[in-house]
């Protein structure tokens, strides 16, 4: 178990409600640097909300959250800007910028936020595109790419900021089945290279293969947590057993 000092993401007692609905009922989670965590559970269990709290897209109501030793303070714009340079996010809907080319999509944030000069940003963008297997698509536009290709560009765009942690919010759920593999392969490479990953996913086979730890969420709480062999092989609680049986078709 990671101690507070060595944890790159440290969550204590996190609570979040939407109106009368308490979606996160006190989350405690410590993530070590380089760890790959898969978050699974039924829809409505709070998985995406938890992820979105970590980079400040959702404002939590109680508890504490720190990344790289620095606590998340919502009102502090400079602190949030710093946080989002350390934490990257890939979305289910890709959210590429449609009016920019693939290359410009990747270069935009580094040039604006990190004040990288154009030549360096271009070189970095090309390198990242090669890394995700899309070197030839630098000048293409998002609407010319398939879903799987767009998602890989989204990954390259997030990597351009050189984050310490990558949040993946159901990044293959909106893809046609035959396009899922190409995206998962990229993520697996990132995991092997030592990136700290927090993924909300329904891809159980992938989660089993790649993650160090699985977190099963149920009704706003972490219900069970452990290495893949334990979660899949020896589920302890009724809810986890029910969930696992429901997803095997």
């Amino acid at each position: 178990m990671a101690t507070a000092e060595s944890a790159i993401v440290d969550i204590r007692g996190l609570r979040k409600r939407f109106g009368p609905n308490e979606v996160l009922k006190g989350i405690d989670l410590s993530v070590r640097s380089g760890e790959v965590i898969a978050i699974i559970g039924k829809s409505g269990s709070g998985k995406s909300t938890l992820l979105r709290c970590i980079n400040g897209l959702e404002v939590f109501d109680a508890g504490s959250l720190s990344v790289g030793g620095q606590a998340l303070v919502h009102g502090d714009k400079a602190a949030m800007r710093g946080l989002r340079q350390r934490v990257g996010m890939i979305f289910q809907g890709f959210n590429l910028f449609p009016h920019l080319s693939v290359g410009r999509n990747i270069m935009l944030a580094p040039t604006l936020v990190k004040a990288r000069d154009r030549a360096a940003a271009t070189a970095q963008a090309r390198a990242l595109l090669a890394r995700v297997g899309l070197a030839e698509k630098f000048d293409a536009h998002p609407d010319q790419l398939s879903g799987g290709q767009q998602q890989r560009v989204a990954i390259a765009r997030a990597l351009a900021m050189e984050p310490a942690v990558l949040l993946c919010d159901e990044i293959t759920s909106a893809l046609d089945p035959e396009l899922v593999g190409e995206v998962l392969r990229v993520v697996e490479t990132l995991a092997l290279e030592g990136m700290t990953l927090l993924m909300v996913t329904h891809e159980m086979g992938f989660a089993r293969k790649v993650s160090d730890r699985l977190v099963f969420m149920h009704a706003g709480r972490i219900h069970e947590m452990g290495p893949p062999e334990q979660i899949f092989g020896a589920p302890q609680t009724v809810e986890l057993k029910q969930f696992l049986s429901s997803i095997h078709d």
């Binding site: 946080l83 989002r84 996010m89 959210n95 449609p98 009016h99 935009l108 604006l112 936020v113 765009r157």
Partner: protein, 216 residues
């Protein structure tokens, strides 16, 4: 009795038409500047901006333009200013235009998917960078057609300035009609001149709409 030819009528109307064009351009450009400022205030979430701008829009959209023109004319005079029809008409039409344009543009910004805001925020961009590089380019594309379409409304609105004595197309038409005793011909020409000004703009707005929505 002097006989006035159709050409006499048309020629005089055309001369007055200049002022319709000038007033339209003043109102449209001034209104655009104010509308942009109001929208930015709303987007930057300045305290109270949302409520104030909302009320401003409701005021101008919920009262007759004629009343707004009278209020500008008599109201500005109250403050001791020497109010000409030019000043009153320009002020009233500029504010009127700004209220409608800011609502149109707000709708266009809202049309940009939320995911664009989230992705740019996740990349550590601040509001200014988000607006300039991600949101505005997309909102602008949607905004062109209705903005050009509203220009037609502005041209038509200038006709009301005649009521406070501003000499543009409609006022000229009334004066020419009284002078020539050919009201049918005069008002028919008047209508056709406005049509000649407005129809091309309307058609352009429609073609812009087709081009920019079929594009992607």
């Amino acid at each position: 009795m002097v006989e006035f030819s159709l050409w006499d009528i048309v020629r005089n109307l055309l001369l007055a038409g200049r002022w319709t064009v000038v007033l339209s351009l003043i109102a449209f450009s001034g209104g655009a500047v104010v509308a942009a400022a109001l929208l930015l205030a709303r987007l930057a979430r300045l305290p109270g901006a949302d409520t104030v701008v909302g009320l401003y829009v409701q005021l101008f959209q919920g009262t007759p333009l004629l009343m707004q023109l009278f209020l500008a004319y008599f109201g500005l005079a109250l403050f001791g200013m020497n109010v000409s029809a030019w000043v009153a008409a320009s002020v009233a039409l500029t504010l009127y235009t700004s209220a409608f344009l800011t609502e149109i543009w707000r709708g266009c910004v809202n049309a940009v998917p939320r995911g664009q805001w989230e992705a740019s925020a996740a990349l550590a961009m601040n509001l200014g960078e988000q607006l300039r590089h991600v949101i505005a380019p997309q909102a602008l594309r949607v905004a062109v057609a209705p903005t050009v379409g509203f220009l037609v409304q502005v041209v038509k609105a200038t006709a009301l300035a005649s009521v406070i004595g501003f000499v543009e197309l409609t006022k000229a038409g009334t004066m020419i009609s009284n002078a020539t005793f050919r009201p049918f011909a005069v008002y028919a020409c008047l209508a056709l001149m406005y049509f000649g000004l407005c129809y091309p703009i309307s058609a352009w707005s429609r073609s812009l709409e087709r081009k920019l929505s079929g594009h992607r």
